[in-house]
């Protein structure tokens, strides 16, 4: 919703968060809010896997 701030400028997006889509147990979930406590913790602890040259086929 467009709101006018104190400087008289039209602003939009206040209170709107970012969507973060993640995969849990094989399917996607649109936002972390729907995750149960354990899965939230798991997503938080995930580390990235490096792709090195050796994978080249």
């Amino acid at each position: 919703m467009v709101q006018i701030n104190q400087d008289g400028v039209e602003m939009v997006g206040k209170g709107v968060g970012f969507e973060r889509i993640r995969r849990i147990t094989g399917y996607l979930v649109g936002t972390l809010d729907r995750f149960n406590d354990a899965k939230r913790a798991e997503v938080g602890e995930r580390v990235k896997h490096t792709v090195s040259r050796e994978v080249k086929l």
């Binding site: 919703m1 400028v9 939009v12 970012f18 094989g26 729907r34 899965k39 913790a41 490096t50």
Partner: protein, 772 residues
């Protein structure tokens, strides 16, 4: 003289000696006693002993204590024991009732945000009316089964967290999942249970009916629904659409160039005439000589030059319109599966589609369009959550440059790099390839839901196919707990594991007995419409026992990493020794399933459990019992099945190499994930290399995770850390409308969220990458 007693809830009621006598008599009866007078005499003694103690208004507990004492004092030790058992059972029932009411209270007054039960399944919105209703039913059903249906040893093992009976709330109701053969379902039309649908005649009805089929079946089963042959099934709809559009455009041409009045009638007559005489019609590939036959007949109405012009016009327009119609149908399919509801509106159907191997031009168009529709996203450019896409990788068809569907494989990689789907399944993995028969799509491995796999068939070895089959139920073993209790004794670990496996085999069979007694009419769609294999041979009041035997009974496990850590101090990512022990453990479990299969004739299989609700449940219980053990119970979750822990640093290739051998062992289903850093769209080669390496290592089913974030205000999709790279706002912050206008991502009509669609993304979309 005792006049009143105090009940458990605090109420005062009149004392009734007969009630005590009846309780004693019941205990004696259980042991074969039949002397009510004796029971009455004992009850009088109980009352006397209470009066003697000066208790004029005893509580129920005090009376029961006195009954126990009196029985023992009079030499009725066995009756006393029976009475104590009865008392304990009553206490258990009472406790469970109290607990259930407590659960209901939390479901009622707490939001999903505060209540983990409401978020047990991320696919259900626990805050909606229907979502909460579903939870009331689910929690109540579970309590009922524990009290009255499950064998006590199974109930106890589940409640104690030794095993986990999945989808327990559906114990007496239905089975898990099914691979729906849409080709067969659509032939001749079908009935949803609420109305009959004719055989579809163009691609848009094919796509719409595929959604309805998934939705209808979702109401008959508790697991996911899968279409194993999406491209093959939908291709027929494309063929019908092309045939219709070619004829219509030819008619338009006839009307325009030749001034013929009943052009539509003539075009149809020509088509049907050729079809009757030669058995051919207009086809999308345009490779059957139909147009030559048609040209001869058209000469009756016009000259050779115009005929050629007419045919070229009809061909060109029909191709263009068929492509458009197919894209729109696939777009609608994806949109519908993300918005339609099942289960009293609480849940979007859990849908999966498998494709990638149909090399017909129609099948290829379907795959191209469903991928492009997914790439484009939903109405505001959101990433579609459903269906789960599974791209079937097969050497000789789509894996190498020069193979007919290699372009689709490349497109699949690109879409997955942006939208997380498709996942990739590998027909060439030896344990999948053994079933593969070229020209028989039903022998191509398919996966459903999170990872379920059903293809082998000991019950009927002539039907080792995916179509019409699925899992019946599954139960997981708490592996880490056995390992903790083993205190390093690997031999004891295997002995105890065997005891738990025996229990699970038993429990799965017990559950099958309940499922088998159901009638066809209990599953109006799944069985009533012949979706499940051979159910079309049954009548509405027939038991489903025999046809269910084509399904699988699966034992699952989670936390192999924690198990190894507890047994030898290292998990399988940390040492080759641990990897070998891991393979020994999972190999043993698989052998036990194969043994049970041979012994019973049922399809017992081993599952790498997805563990959504379970991942936290086991570890919470084990931490309470054994304390916080490093690398074992010190996280909020047990690691998914045989995965290397998500927090362990390891290269993609190493993770794939180590997890692949477990895919061969887990014949009920498996999946491996790789977490990629950064935006994989910027490095598609690396993305494809990971998929290729999965295939080389013998992975059966894999997917690649990467962050997909979206700013709903400016529409940016990609990686967002703290600040949106496009409009520069932070989470929750406002941004000026002027700035969005300058960026070209502002639409007046979308003032509530900022923006619809994504002009940047849209301008970057490359033209159709495929040639026909």
């Amino acid at each position: 003289m005792i006049q009143t007693i105090v009940k458990r809830d605090g109420r005062c009621v009149l004392f009734d000696l007969d009630k005590i006598a009846a309780a004693i008599f019941k205990a004696a009866q259980a042991l074969g006693g039949s002397d009510y007078e004796m029971a009455r005499a004992l009850a009088e003694q109980v009352a006397a002993s209470l009066e003697e103690a000066g208790n004029q208004s005893p509580t129920v507990e005090e009376i029961q204590d006195a009954v126990e004492r009196t029985l023992v004092d009079n030499g009725h030790a066995r009756t006393a024991k029976e009475f104590i058992l009865y008392r304990a059972q009553r206490t258990r029932v009472r406790d469970m009732n109290t607990r259930l009411m407590k659960t209901y209270e939390e479901l009622t007054y707490k939001s999903a945000d505060e209540n983990d039960i409401k978020r047990e399944n991320a696919n259900i919105d626990g805050d909606t009316a229907m979502g909460t209703m579903l939870k009331y039913g689910s929690e109540g059903a579970k309590q009922f089964y524990h009290m009255f249906v499950l064998r006590p040893e199974h109930s106890k093992a589940h409640l104690a967290g030794d095993i986990h009976i999945h989808d327990l709330d559906f114990l007496t109701l239905t089975t898990t999942c099914c691979q729906i053969d849409i080709d067969k379902l659509f032939t001749g039309g079908f009935c949803t249970g609420h109305g009959f649908l004719r055989e579809p005649n163009d691609i848009s009805s094919y796509a719409a009916l595929a959604c309805i089929a998934i939705q209808s079946n979702q109401n008959d089963q508790h697991g996911g629904q899968s279409i194993p042959n999406f491209d093959y099934g939908m291709a027929k709809g494309v063929a019908k659409t092309y045939r219709k559009l070619y004829t219509r455009n030819l008619a338009k041409g006839l009307e325009l160039f030749c001034g013929i009045d009943d052009a539509e009638g003539i075009a149809k007559a020509i088509r049907d005439g050729i079809s009757d005489a030669r058995g051919i019609g207009p086809v999308f590939a345009d490779d059957n000589g139909y147009r030559d036959q048609e040209a001869e007949l058209l000469h009756e109405y016009t000259d050779g030059e115009t005929t050629e012009k007419l045919q070229q016009f009809a061909r060109r327009e029909a191709v263009k319109e068929t492509r458009r119609a197919t894209y729109q149908a696939m777009e609608a399919f994806v949109h519908n599966l993300n918005t339609m509801h099942s289960r009293a509106g609480a849940q979007i159907p859990f849908s999966s589609i498998n494709y990638g191997t149909d090399t017909s031009p129609e099948g290829r168009l379907v795959v191209e369009c469903v991928l492009r529709a997914t790439e484009a996203g939903l109405g505001n450019g959101e990433t579609p959550i459903f269906p789960i896409h599974i791209f079937k990788v097969k050497e000789g068809i789509n894996f190498n440059d020069g193979e007919p569907n290699y372009d689709l494989f490349k497109l699949a990689c690109r879409v997955s790099a942006k939208r997380l789907f498709p996942n990739f399944s590998f027909i060439d993995a030896p344990y999948n390839l053994q079933y593969y028969k070229p020209g028989h799509p039903e022998t191509e491995i398919a996966y459903m839901g999170c990872r379920t796999r059903v293809i082998g068939n000991h019950y009927d070895p002539t039907r080792e196919i995916v179509n019409g089959r699925g899992n019946l139920s599954f139960t997981s073993v708490n592996l880490p707990r056995i390992a903790i209790r083993a205190k390093g004794d690997v031999d004891w670990f295997f002995e105890e594991l065997d005891r738990k496996i025996d229990l699970v085999i038993d429990q799965l069979m017990e559950r099958f007995e309940i499922q088998a007694k159901k009638k066809v009419r209990n599953y109006p769609f799944l069985m009533g419409q012949g979706v499940w294999i051979d159910s079309d041979k049954l009548g509405p009041d027939d038991e489903v026992r025999e046809v269910l035997k084509h399904g699988t009974l699966s034992m699952g496990f989670i936390g192999l990493a924690e198990t190894l850590k507890a047994l030898i101090g290292q998990h399988h990512g940390e040492s080759e020794y641990a990897q070998n022990l891991g393979l020994e453990i999972i190999g043993h479990m698989r052998r036990r399933m194969d043994d049970a299969t041979r012994a019973t004739g049922f399809n017992y299989t081993l599952l790498a459990t997805p563990a959504e609700g379970l991942s936290g449940r086991f570890v919470r219980m084990d931490r309470k019992q054994f304390g916080e053990l490093e690398g074992i119970t010190d996280h909020e979750f047990y690691t998914n099945s045989f995965h290397i822990p998500v927090y362990y640093n390891i290269s993609a290739s190493e993770k794939i190499r180590l997890e692949a051998p477990y895919h061969a062992l887990t014949n009920a289903g498996h999946i491996s994930y790789i977490e990629l850093d950064g935006d994989p769209l910027k490095n598609l080669d690396a993305f494809e290399q990971v998929v290729r390496y999965m295939k080389e290592c013998g992975i059966g089913y894999g997917s690649i995770n990467h962050p997909v974030d979206r700013d709903p205000v400016c529409g940016y999709t990609g990686i967002i850390d703290e600040v949106c790279p496009r409009c520069g706002r932070r989470e929750g912050e406002a941004v000026s409308v002027q700035k969005l206008r300058e960026l070209g991502c502002w639409q007046e009509s979308a003032a509530n969220c900022g923006y619809c669609g994504d002009p940047f993304e849209e301008s970057e979309r490359s033209a159709n990458p495929l040639s026909f």
